[in-house]
Amino acid sequence: MKPTDTKNPEYFHKVVDCQYACPAHTPVPEYIRLIAAERYTDAYMINWQSNVFPGILGRTCDRPCEPACRRVRVEEQPVAICRLKRVAADNKEDIRDRLPEIPKTKNGKRVALIGAGPASLTVARGLAPLGYSIDIFDNQFAGGGMMRSQIPSFRLPIEVLDEEVNYILDMGINAVFDIQVESLREILEEDYDAVFVGTGAPRGKGLNLPGLEDAMPNVYLGIDWLSSVAFEHTRSIGKRVLVLGGGNTAMDCCRTSRRMGGEDVRVVVRSPFEEMKASPWEKEDAANEGIPIYNNHVPKEFVVEDGKLKGMHFEKVEAHYDDEGKRTLVPTGEDLVFMEADDVLMAIGQENAFPWIERDLGIEFDKWEMPVVDPVTFQSTNEKVFFGGDSAFGPENIITAVAHGHQAAVSIDLFCRGEDVHNRPPPHVSQSSQKMGVHEWSYDNAVANDLRYVVPHAPLSKALKNRKIEVELGFDTETGYKEAERCLNCDVQTVFDELRCIECDACVDICPTDCITFTTNGTEEDLRQRLEAPAGNLAQDLYISADLPTMRVMVKDENVCLHCGLCAERCPTTAWDMQKFLYNVSKAGE
C-alpha cells in the first residue's frame, strides 16, 4: 500500500466517526470536551455553528452519529452524544452577543425562502450575516416547519423551539407567515436573485381499504392529526386508538393519543418488530407508556356498524426472505384478527407534493415527480432555484435539512456573486499537538470504563396528563460530566513520523487494542491478514507509513484505536504524537 496521505483532511476526518457520520459534520468530541470543562456556552456555540438548533437537536435528533460512535466497537453503547448536546443547551448563558453581526447596509441581493422549516432557516442563518435581504414565506403561523407542527411538545418544548428559531428570525429576516405559496412563477416574477425551496414533504400517505369511506370521520392521516393537535384544533381522541405504521410518526401519534384521552392505544405494523422504521429509543418510550406494538399484522378493512367505526380487521403474516434478503410478507392462513377502535391514525409515510410549482419554469421533475436537484450544490435545473431539506430528496430529518441548508447557502452566495457553484470552499482544518510534558496531554486521555448513563424521565403519571410536559429531563451537569468522560476523543489523532521511529516495538506492546503492527508492506487485502489483531472492518482505514530502516512499514488499523495516547507515551523518540484535528465544513462566505 502507498503511505497514507495525512495531509488530505479527509483522512483524519473519517477517523472521527461521529463527526463523519453527522450530516452537518458537527465537531462532536470538541464540544464534548467543553462540556466536561463546564464550558457550556462554548460547547453550545460549536454546535450552533454546525447545526443551528442545538437545543432542539439535543432532544430530537435522529443521531446518526451514535451508531457510528467508536465505543460501539469496543463496548455495548455509544456515548450519549445527542443528550450531551442538550446539556450544553440547557446550561449555556445568554448567547446573543455571540451570534454573527448582521450588516446594517445590505449587499443588494434578495433571496426568497419558501417554507420556514430547518432547511430554510439554515439558509437564512448563512446568508443574513453576509448582507442578503431575505424574505421567508410559510403557511404556518410561526417558523420551525415540522419541528413545530409535527414533533410533539412532550419531546420538544415550545420555548426551546421558539428560542432557536427566533435567533434566526431576529437576524433582520422578513418573515411572512400564514401564507400559502400557490405559484413559484409569481415568486420568480418578484425578481429575487435566488429562491430556495424548503417546503418539506408535507403530504401524508393513506390506505384506501374497504370501509374507509364510512369510517372516514374517525380516520386521520397521522401528520395532519399531529399538526392539528399542535395547533390546538384537536383536543381529544377516543378511548380506543389504532395507529397504523411503524415509523417515528406512528410513535408520536400513539404517544400523543395517550395524552389526548386514548386508553387502549395500539400500534399495528405490517413488518416484524425488528424491521420497524422507528428508532429503538422511540419504540422503548412508547412501550414505557404502556403502548403495545402488534407486528406482522396487515390492515385489511375498516369495520363499520350503524355508520360508526367499530374497529379493523388484520391479516397475520410472516416475513420470508429470499436469497438476496428481499422480504415478502406471507399470510399465515390464520383467521383475520379483529381489533376494536374508536379512532384510527394512519402513519404509514409522507411524500412530497409540488402542485404550486409550475412545470414550465425550467425546473426539471423526474418520473416520481421529484425535482432534479444536484446533491452537492442543491441547485435545480433552473439556476436561480435551489432545494433543500425534505423537499430535495424526500423525507429525512432535521440534521439533514440543516446540512442541506448550509450547502445551499454556500451555493446561493456563490451564485449571487457570479461564481461557479461547483467551486466549493475547502473545509477549515487545524491540527495541533496535545503534548504538554513528557507524559502529559492537554486532553483527558484516560479511558473511562463507565457504561452509558440513562437520561431520567418525568414520572409517567405526570407525563401522561399533559402533552406539553417534557418526558426526558436531560442529564444534570454531574451526569453530563461523567457521560462526557466516556468520549474517546477520536479527533485527537495518532500521528506517526517514520523518520523518528527506532522500531523498538514499545507502541505495539502497549497498545491495549492491538492497533499497531510493524511488518513488510503488501496489498491492503494481504496486510489485513497479517496484522497483530483481526482487521476485518473494511469501513475503517489502515494508516500506512513510508518504509522504515528495516524495510518494514508501520500499519495502524484505525478500527478500535482508543485514542488513549499510550503509544505516544511509550514511544521513546516521539515518533507518535497525539494531535487534535479540527475539521469544520465551510459555511457561506467563508
Binding site: V447, I502, T513, P534, P549, L566, R570
Partner: protein, 350 residues
C-alpha cells in the same frame, strides 16, 4: 502519564485452548522507560504463554533486582511471582522447584543481576540443570542504578555518559554452555518473530533453558558508541536460523522447503522445526555451539537464535529421583510410611 491500561481490548482477540485471550496474560502497566527493550520481552512472554495455553496459575515468575527484574510485574498478572534479592533469583527458584515440580518456572534477570552479583548462582543453577526458563534482559548496563557498565558490556563499547569499557565482556551463552546448560539461545527484544518461538521451545525443554536477550536500555545505553543499541544490534545480528514451534497435537499447516528443515520432538510431545542458515552450526552438539559462538565473537557479530539444545537432557528432579508429586500434595501416609518401611530402610543400611 497513564497509570492504568484501558480496560477495553480488541473485540476479536483470538482465544487459546483455555478460552483466554492474550489480555488474560498481561500484567500491570509498565513503569519502565518508554522504549525499554524489557517491555518487548514482556510482550513476547505474554504471547508465548498465551499461545501455549498455559494456565496462568501454573506459572511462577521470579526475578532479582534491576529494571529487568521489575519487569515480571508487567506480565502474567494472574501468575505466581517472587521478586527476590539481587542476584539470588536462582536459589529461590531452586527451592520452589524442588518443592513443587508442577509449576513452570520463569526466571527473569538482568545482565547485572546475572553476570555480576549473581554469577555464582547462575553458574550453579545451570550446572544442576534445574528445570526452568532463565531469561536475561541484557542491556550491557545497570539500568536501574543509572547505566553503569555491566559485565556483559563489550570492550570498547560506551554508554551514553560513559567512557569506553576497558574490560572484556562475559558472554552468558558461552558461560552457560561451559556450565552445562542444556538449552542455550540468544535473541533480540526487537525481534518477536524469533523470540516468541524460542521462549516456547525453552518452556517445552526439560532442564535449564537460558535465553540471553539483547534488550537496549533506551535511557542509558542506546547511543551510537554502544554495542547494545537498537541500531547496532540490528546491523550486527546474525541468526543461526529460524525456528518454528509446533505445539503438541497441532496440525502442520505451513509448507516448508524440503531439505532445510530439521524437526525435533521435545519431551512434552511438541516439536520444533529449525531452518538452518548457518551450516557450520549443529545445535545438538555442544562443541559445535561453542565453536560457532567463538567465531562470531571474533567477527564482531551477534549470534542469535537457538545455539544449543541437549536432546537427552535429564533435569535435576530426574537426577535426584525426587518425588513425582509436589510436596504440598503429599499426605501423612506418604510422609510417615510406618514402622514396616522404617524397618526396611534400617535393614538396607546394615
Amino acid at each position: 502519564m497513564s497509570y492504568q491500561l484501558p480496560k477495553f481490548r480488541h473485540p476479536e482477540l483470538p482465544v487459546n485452548d483455555l478460552g483466554y485471550t492474550r489480555a488474560d496474560y498481561e500484567g500491570a502497566i509498565s513503569t519502565l522507560c518508554a522504549g525499554c527493550g524489557h517491555d518487548s520481552i514482556s510482550g513476547a512472554i505474554v504471547r508465548a504463554c498465551h499461545e501455549l495455553s498455559i494456565e496462568p496459575h501454573k506459572i511462577a515468575k521470579l526475578s532479582g533486582i534491576g529494571c529487568s527484574s521489575k519487569a515480571p510485574t508487567y506480565f502474567l498478572g494472574n501468575s505466581h511471582g517472587f521478586n527476590s534479592v539481587h542476584g539470588r533469583m536462582p536459589s529461590v527458584v531452586t527451592g520452589a522447584a524442588l518443592a513443587n515440580r508442577d509449576l513452570l518456572y520463569m526466571g527473569v534477570s538482568g545482565d547485572g543481576d546475572t553476570a555480576s552479583i549473581g554469577m555464582g548462582q547462575f553458574a550453579h543453577v545451570a550446572r544442576r540443570n534445574l528445570n526452568m526458563v532463565y531469561i536475561v534482559m541484557n542491556n550491557g548496563c545497570y539500568g536501574l542504578t543509572k547505566g553503569q557498565d555491566s559485565a556483559t558490556a563489550d570492550r570498547g563499547s560506551a554508554s551514553k555518559k560513559g567512557d569506553p569499557n576497558i574490560y572484556s565482556a562475559i558472554d552468558l551463552c558461552g558461560t552457560a554452555l561451559q556450565m552445562g546448560a542444556t538449552f542455550v539461545a540468544r535473541s533480540f527484544s526487537g525481534d518477536k518473530e524469533q523470540l516468541v518461538p524460542l521462549i516456547k521451545a525453552a518452556i517445552s525443554h526439560r532442564g535449564f533453558a537460558l535465553i540471553d536477550v539483547v534488550s537496549p536500555c533506551v535511557t542509558f545505553n542506546n547511543n551510537s558508541k554502544s554495542t547494545k543499541s537498537y541500531d547496532f544490534v540490528r546491523e550486527h545480528a546474525e541468526a543461526t536460523g529460524t525456528i518454528d514451534f509446533v505445539p503438541m497435537h497441532s496440525e502442520i499447516t505451513t509448507h516448508y522447503q524440503p531439505g532445510h528443515a530439521h524437526e525435533v520432538t521435545m519431551h512434552d510431545g511438541s516439536s520444533i522445526r529449525l531452518y538452518k542458515m548457518d551450516e557450520s552450526l549443529n545445535p545438538f552438539d555442544r562443541r559445535s555451539a561453542v565453536n560457532v559462538l567463538e567465531e562470531h565473537r571474533y567477527s564482531g557479530n551477534i549470534l542469535t537464535g537457538l545455539i544449543y539444545m541437549n536432546l537427552d537432557s535429564r533435569d535435576l528432579h530426574e537426577v535426584l529421583e525426587t518425588s513425582q508429586r509436589p510436596l504440598n500434595a503429599l499426605d501423612e501416609s506418604d510422609l510417615c510410611p510406618g514402622n514396616k518401611m522404617l524397618v526396611n530402610i534400617n535393614a538396607s543400611l546394615r
